[in-house]
Symmetry: C2
Amino acid sequence: MSQVQRMSRLMAKTLRDDPADAETLSHKLLVRAGYVRRTSAGLWSWLPLGKKVLDNISRVVREEMDAIGAQEVLLPALLPKEPYEASGRWDEYGDLLFRLKDRKGGDYLLGPTHEEIFTQVVKDQCTSYKDLPVMLYQIQTKYRDEARPRSGVLRGREFQMKDSYSFDTTDEGLAESYALHRAAYQKIFTRIGLDYRIVSAVSGAMGGSDSEEFLAPAGAGEDTFADCPNCDYAANTEAVTFQGAVAETVEHGPVEELDTPDTPTIETLAAHLGVPASATLKNLLVKVDGEITAVGVPGDREVDLGKLGEHLAPAVVELVTAEDFEDRPDLVRGYVGPQGLKIRYIADPRVAPGTAWVTGANKPDTHARDVVVGRDFEVDDYLDVVVVEAGDPCPACGTGLNLDRAIEIGHIFQLGRKYADTFQLDVLGQQGKPVRVTMGSYGIGVSRAVAAIAEQTADEQGLCWPREIAPADVHVVAAGKALQTELAVDVSEQLAAAGLRVLVDERPGVSPGVKFTDAELIGVPKILVAGRRSADGVVELKDRRTGEREELTVAEAVARLTA
Amino acid sequence: MSQVQRMSRLMAKTLRDDPADAETLSHKLLVRAGYVRRTSAGLWSWLPLGKKVLDNISRVVREEMDAIGAQEVLLPALLPKEPYEASGRWDEYGDLLFRLKDRKGGDYLLGPTHEEIFTQVVKDQCTSYKDLPVMLYQIQTKYRDEARPRSGVLRGREFQMKDSYSFDTTDEGLAESYALHRAAYQKIFTRIGLDYRIVSAVSGAMGGSDSEEFLAPAGAGEDTFADCPNCDYAANTEAVTFQGAVAETVEHGPVEELDTPDTPTIETLAAHLGVPASATLKNLLVKVDGEITAVGVPGDREVDLGKLGEHLAPAVVELVTAEDFEDRPDLVRGYVGPQGLKIRYIADPRVAPGTAWVTGANKPDTHARDVVVGRDFEVDDYLDVVVVEAGDPCPACGTGLNLDRAIEIGHIFQLGRKYADTFQLDVLGQQGKPVRVTMGSYGIGVSRAVAAIAEQTADEQGLCWPREIAPADVHVVAAGKALQTELAVDVSEQLAAAGLRVLVDERPGVSPGVKFTDAELIGVPKILVAGRRSADGVVELKDRRTGEREELTVAEAVARLTA
């Protein structure tokens, strides 16, 4: 039998005002409704109501992970440095990693994610292809020392995460483990009531399906994704690919130099010449493994250095500094143009063959007009490097894309053999020879999901939970004196006996108005009020989301709720 | 419907040999049976079988904590320094505390226990006596940087603990919260199948019931407790009180000085004089807040400096050093006697009025005989300060005590107002004035309980779990070929459909002998074998603990197991 939770005893003090430091809706409401309290920057205490929502999400995650045959384990959160040093992540994580020493001076870290340790566990446990495939998961406390922990539990420094890992001997096996996880994630997010999109997370260069993100659209989200209003295309903005501009065959006049003093920016240049910024060619200088390289994009676009770095990896991309110009009279700061330039020239596909541009003339205070791609200069490499903007064409259908904010709630990744190579994870294959194992890695932000659901479902009155994860099924309000309180407690006992999770507000000396406001704020899906007609055994049943209410006898209300 | 776990897929590689570094039975067996693996010193990975046992114990703990009205929360494990500095524990914990800095240089710790943070939560949440009493708990990962992490999960540096805290306005309320916890702990330990004793944890000076330990007798335990074979008295050895020796009225001769060269120790002295060590009086010199003080105990007993310190707290007790003798010609090293001594003299109650002793004569190479308490010297304070030994009288009935080894699995503590004073935790009382809150703190070592149960229940064949916490209800063994495997899987499905948790060993190419050995090692309470008589639909049901076995039809076996 479920227990009735009395509000008079519940550790959930509601607040009328938003916490001063809260910016997002979920942060404000989860604090105001008594679900969480801040212990320190990015470190949150989950109070009873919050813990119940967290547990409900964890339960759904467990059920769906178990259903695909994944096995639950629990690895330490405090981890030795060595495996992370071997994988390179001890350094790569930079300041994001919490590092510490033990009493003997040994180096440790607080695990941000556990690829290394799972690889070691499987290396210890599995020796033959017969032991694979295997999928392991844990729901565990994770750590990241965020530079600006904010948005409440949406981005904490300590958080709950479900991380799982698949181990296969073949690429086909990995694809299958990945597909199982993808399907399980769809079930999980649907069950917990999240509106979500699955988006490609990396560019097509690595294969469309090898990493996807599950995003919950929400204004408070820190991720931006591109969304086609016409077809079902959606992608992380970094993964959107531009489907090549068409080469132009129009005849252009010869290159013409223009006197352009005091035009240090694209804006001033465009205004001076009376042309749109999109008619100008911006040439960004970077160093690629130390070699100065120019990157040309239309003047109205920004270079996405992340995208550029990903295209050129493992080469290191840096911005040029003033010193880099010292021995290079050929590079005239602010007036660089691709024509006659003696360095590598990378261009965005929009800078298509045959197109003409206004660009630097490689002389101070001078620009050039009608500089034509393929006639006046050559592009060494075409790479899609601009920041995606709303209205850019959908790679699938060409329709202008929308850009939306979202919260990343899940990420699935075909890792391949990176970690298996690091730790030499082989099993004996069917032919009797060692076979290198291939891995997948899959994560769900469990505590973040609480905030994401709050963001998507809350209204002006407060939180508004989907039933499967709500902290209770019914919130019973005693709106009156002894008679109402007695009826409220009695109905609560009946509902609990029928297996429902019941919260009853029987606080003495608290007005019905305050109780109603708290009930709306706390957001249990059904609110049952023992009010004026209690003497007749009539109660009011209200749907928290729709606001619909009806008067019912106690028996009818119990029947309705337990149906 | 429960799922059937197939051994062919289970991440639980059994080992025939004990791990080289394992000293205790539970450490050996939990590793050999594939329940846990060591990730680093004192840091353990819980594999699927171990995780199930851990979860089962957690479930029982939750049910009993909920039953007494405690509310579950989850506080951070990574905690800011300030509250622990305020309570003094940032320093007091010494090397046991894992300390770290964040990217901004702020000081943090990994929580060993959470009194400070719970006090802050309640200060934030509760303002009136009407909000109390309240009991909060969490099941959480805790950290202690043990000097010598050993004994497997019995003493890890990261471990699972249930910690709870009660908050009351009155001493009577605290006593009630304490009693509720005590009763819940009895239910929990009984349900999870532990043989345990409740022992007083501190001396009677602070009140007999204000701290008790739950100890699981086991040879691998690191705690020693005194146990009366005649009555129900049991106590931590530090808490055993000596019920005063009776004053003697025998007439003794006058003090006689003896030439005793080369007798630097009690042993050499006793041998030289031909008397038992118990006839000599040992005088230990210590400094109490810097003042030299003598502590007299019978020569065959040791001073328990912990007990002495507790008696004299908050005074600081230190041992004397050679320098302390430099300006004190009255103190003759190795030959100190209480007679004529000009310093404070503390004695164990065994040094009773009227008793005569051989002791130092305060002259080099000289002892004195027939030095009588009350005639030749006075005792300033009688304090029970000796290390308890087997055979010491039971404080309750006088019978000689046994000393036994045990594992501490729970601790309940009436803290009083220490933390409430630190954080000024007051609520508005019934009279409208602030009332300081009084607290209790209660812990159960959840991961340690796994090892404690293993220690108490294992036999020569392996682990042997009580049903409530076993990783499965039934271990089905396919002992044969296709026919047996088919039957084993079929029976397993039937049992799972009836709600049982089933592990089925259907590993192809593994001999029945290996499967039997593994089943005994893994320790599920019931073992069902599909063997020689499978063609007749007859299986063998074996009780893991008693070894009793009987042949049954499949229908009979299913009925028996699901009864």
